[in-house]
């Protein structure tokens, strides 16, 4: 019988796992030790799509999980029978499929026997149409050692396993949302830095590029700083002030400052508070820093502009020069065409892009910059 202390320790290991995938193996190892069994795994099946995944396993050759996912999950005799059981009911492997029947199957002869895996018992944490998730405990075909108290352990652990696996899904989902959102921020031409309680928590690609050159804006000990002490002081004061604003829940106050650079025009830095957080996040210190680099050419690349509006290569070149602020006379000289040719090219560009003058065309190119910023 498992002691209260051992049970408490097992639950502690289990609840360590949701945010830390490696800890699932620790839990499965401890579970095997307590149940006196040789292996354990958490498996997930999407029956409709024929996806059979060994999420975590302990005690067997790591090769088996890959083969199970690739093929043997589809012909898993235990799984077919296990689909008919209820969530939370501990099913013994030999009852699901007696050894005499199992031993004539491809699943046994080509897979279970090779890796010496014998299902001792399993308990489903999710058993819905098309979605089965379960924890399986394994013994050996060669070794007669039988599991001790596995059924009792299964019953004690079931609600916790279900909870912990639900928590794991929540962590996986929120991590996926975070990475998608960061991918969105990475597409933007502006530098964006998210500030949390303990300093910087995320930096988009454009901000990374600005910080990498160590010119003007820096990270010192996970906090934003500027090369010039007085600017650094002002920037940090702004962030502190905005953080305080977030804490006091006074909305829509933002602050702007300039950060000088040795080799280029100053960066324009906007610090914005973030409000309306759930109370349970409950900590002061939330701000977003937006950085604009006035030197950065933010316009759509010529090839994208050409494809979208059906411009000829010559028209595309003229459009880019216009966007860069060249006067028509300079453009004609640069590309080597007469003023009349340029005039007709410009008319064609304006018609195709549905613009009427240079300023509208430039605005269009700048607006499109965001579509391509992350790719350049």
């Amino acid at each position: 019988m498992i002691s209260a202390k051992a049970l408490s320790n097992l639950l502690y290991t289990l609840y360590s796992a949701p945010p830390r995938p490696a800890a699932w193996n620790d839990f499965l190892r401890d579970l095997c030790t307590q149940a006196n069994l040789s292996g354990a795994a958490i498996l997930e099946h999407d029956v409709e799509r024929e996806h059979h995944n060994v999420q975590y396993s302990y005690g067997s050759d790591s090769e088996w999980a890959g083969l199970y996912k690739e093929y043997y999950g589809q012909i898993d005799e235990y799984k077919e029978r296990f689909l008919r059981t209820q969530e939370g009911v501990f099913a013994l492997g030999d009852e699901l499929c007696p050894p005499s029947k199992m031993k004539v199957t491809e699943f046994y002869n080509d897979f279970l026997q090779k890796y010496d895996i014998r299902l001792y018992g399993a308990i489903a944490t999710v058993n819905r149409p098309n979605h089965l998730e379960h924890i399986s405990l394994y013994s050996s075909w060669k070794n007669k050692r039988r599991g001790a108290h596995a059924r009792e352990l299964g019953a004690l652990l079931f609600p916790h396993l279900k909870n912990a696996l639900d928590l794991r899904r929540k962590f996986v989902d929120i991590a996926a949302v975070n990475s998608s959102l960061m991918a969105g921020l990475d597409l933007l031409p502006q530098g964006i830095i998210l500030i949390g309680q303990a300093g910087i928590i995320a930096v988009n690609r454009a901000a990374e590029q600005i910080l990498r050159v160590h010119d003007g804006l820096l990270i010192v000990g996970n906090h934003l700083a500027a090369d010039i002490p007085s600017e650094s002081h002002r920037l940090q004061n702004l962030i502190a002030k905005v953080n305080q604003t977030a804490w006091l829940d006074l909305s829509s106050l933002s602050e702007v400052t300039l950060v000088s650079r040795r080799s280029a025009a100053p960066l324009q830095v906007l610090v914005v508070p973030v409000v309306d957080f759930p109370a349970d996040a409950g900590r002061p210190g939330r701000a977003i820093v937006l950085i604009n680099d006035p030197q950065k050419q933010v316009r759509a690349p010529a090839n994208v502009f050409r494809t979208l509006f059906g411009l000829t290569p010559a028209e595309s070149r003229v459009a880019m020069l216009l966007a860069d602020g060249y006067a028509p006379g300079e453009i004609a000289e640069t590309v080597g065409v007469s003023r009349n040719t340029l005039k007709s090219q410009l008319a064609s560009i304006y018609r195709k892009t549905e613009t009427r003058r240079q300023s509208q065309l430039v605005r269009l190119l700048l607006r499109m910059a965001v579509l391509t910023a992350g790719r350049s």
Binding site: K5, L7, S8, Y12, S180, G184, D280, L290, R367
Partner: protein, 267 residues
């Protein structure tokens, strides 16, 4: 007085449930208090730097007493002050922190504990971080004896789980807050950004995209998918999305693409 194997998993489960749903702290405190033969219990947070003393959850404590504690008596709580010198995870009795004789001479005892019929306490230090202290506190009234060693054992079992549950809760809250910060940053942009799932379904979008789709001018939402006014453009968009989704799931090589979408009024 270690909880039995039948009670322990339930008690531990309640901790993790309560960390996700604070309304469940009270039934947990009631159960743990009864197991320890306590007469009341509380989850108390001290932010010594901010001079904030909060009873986050309680069982069998008069709300007026909670309020008084938060307003004043938390700042002269001799048990909390002494417990602050102990490491996180530590479980201690009120008598080990302050002798009954010394306690009786304090304002905290005479004006607060005695009035609320609290004579003994046992404390599990769930979190101690700088000037922040969180404690699971169980109390006994003056008709009871001080907490015996066996009662401390119950807390010794539970405190690691409370620490784990708090950590899980904060880790998740941090991730959630981070997602919300990023969403806020995206909402500040004039460019519409739409996140799609592997079947082309909209997972989330920023404010500008939402406004754009609401106008139903060229690009709109139909059955959770992006549709354009012109069928030919819809087909191009869908195939571009499908190709990008394939790349996203590691099954394709398309880098995505750009296209113009004709407004509904200019068809």
């Amino acid at each position: 007085m270690v909880p039995s194997k039948q009670v322990l998993p339930d008690l531990i489960g309640r901790i993790y449930d309560a960390a996700a749903d604070p309304s469940l702290w009270e039934p947990f405190l009631e159960q743990v208090s009864k197991i320890s033969r306590g007469t009341s219990a509380a989850l108390v947070m001290h932010h010594l730097g901010h001079k904030m003393h909060t009873i986050s959850a309680s069982w069998n404590i008069d709300p007026k007493a909670s309020l008084l504690y938060q307003q004043y008596y938390g700042s002269i709580d001799v048990w909390a002050m002494r417990a602050h010198g102990k490491p996180a995870g530590c479980v201690c009795s009120s008598e080990s922190l302050c002798s009954p004789q010394e306690l009786r001479g304090t304002e905290f005892f005479n004006d607060f504990l005695a009035w609320n019929n609290v004579a003994h306490g046992t404390f599990g230090l769930v979190e101690k971080n700088g000037s922040h202290l969180a404690s699971l506190s169980i109390y006994r009234d003056s008709s009871s004896k001080e907490f015996e060693v066996a009662a401390l054992d119950t807390l010794n079992f539970l405190i690691p789980h409370m620490q784990r549950a708090f950590k899980l809760h904060f880790q998740f809250s941090e991730l959630k807050a981070r997602a919300e910060r990023t969403e806020t940053a995206l909402d500040m942009l004039s460019t519409g950004v739409i996140f799609l799932g592997d079947k082309g379904e909209i997972v989330l979008m920023n404010r500008s995209a939402d406004e754009l789709l609401r106008r139903k001018d060229g690009l709109r939402l139909e059955h959770g998918k992006l549709i354009t006014s012109l069928c030919s453009e819809s087909a191009v968009l869908q195939s571009m999305i499908a190709a990008a989704a394939q790349t996203g799931s590691g099954k394709g090589l398309s880098a995505g693409g750009t296209m113009l979408i004709t407004g509904a009024g200019t068809e």
